[in-house]
Symmetry: C2
């Protein structure tokens, strides 16, 4: 299977990309929680039941990391992706539970060629992470750096 | 060892908390990268050497997750921490390499009692993640929800 490579020129404002899915498991939630976010509602199903969330749920950083996995599989190709300086408006709208299936919808908001580095440009993108039932689990607005197709073939 | 519990009332604007450390390893970077962010510069030391980063470096989401581990060990106690709706201004200032030792500096910017839920309040906090040499690796401004001490002892 040949994967699609998105170059800077492809990511014009208004472009929408939809992809996924990532299946969330209790084991995955607890593994991540033990390593990085061992609050009771991320590692202990018993205690989680009486928490504000009503049950074991994924660390917000785990949800962001699962989103990232989908990005790397579907959006950020090694030929063109140059990393990111940061993210704004990261929001955890709803808890993510075992059995949830996550997918992504990316909307390109702005694209700006780099002045100092003519082979690349930056893209401001919104990403919404949805559950299988259409509920919004997480969203963010971030910057992505992409190589130009021109530069790659020059 | 009894750990300090920070209640909403403790987190007044201007409060500064410093804690850490987290030792970053190549194994940890590659493990996280393979699971969640398998871009070459996070999983392949050879290829990483010729990337923009100059060597194998941690996924930005891994750095955020390592920060979270420090928060849970030092700042967010199960008695008082009620989660977070989101984060703004997340910035990855410098790549995080194997051998780096990360620590946190939190500054409380605002604190607002909840109107609808009198037992708690929200705090706007800045967190800076530093390396052992004083370089800023990552920063963010986020919201944290905390139970009131009053509510706990009432």
């Amino acid at each position: 299977m040949t994967r699609r490579v998105y170059w800077f020129e492809d990511l014009t404002p208004g472009t929408v990309l939809e992809f996924g899915h990532y299946d969330v498991t209790a084991e995955g939630i607890i593994d991540f929680g033990r390593q990085f976010d061992p609050q009771p509602f991320h590692v202990d199903p018993e205690v989680a039941r009486s928490s504000l969330f009503g049950g074991l749920c994924a660390s917000g950083w785990h949800t962001a990391s699962m989103m990232m996995k989908l990005w790397v599989e579907n959006y950020l190709a090694p030929e063109s992706s140059l990393g990111s300086p940061g993210v704004d408006e990261l929001r955890w709208h709803r808890p993510v539970f075992p059995g949830d299936r996550l997918s992504c919808r990316i909307t390109i908001l702005e694209s700006t060629p780099s002045r100092s580095r003519p082979f690349m440009g930056s893209v401001r993108q919104k990403c919404e992470v949805y559950k299988q039932n259409g509920e919004l689990a997480m969203s963010l607005v971030g910057i992505g750096l992409f190589r130009k197709r021109d530069a790659a073939t020059a």
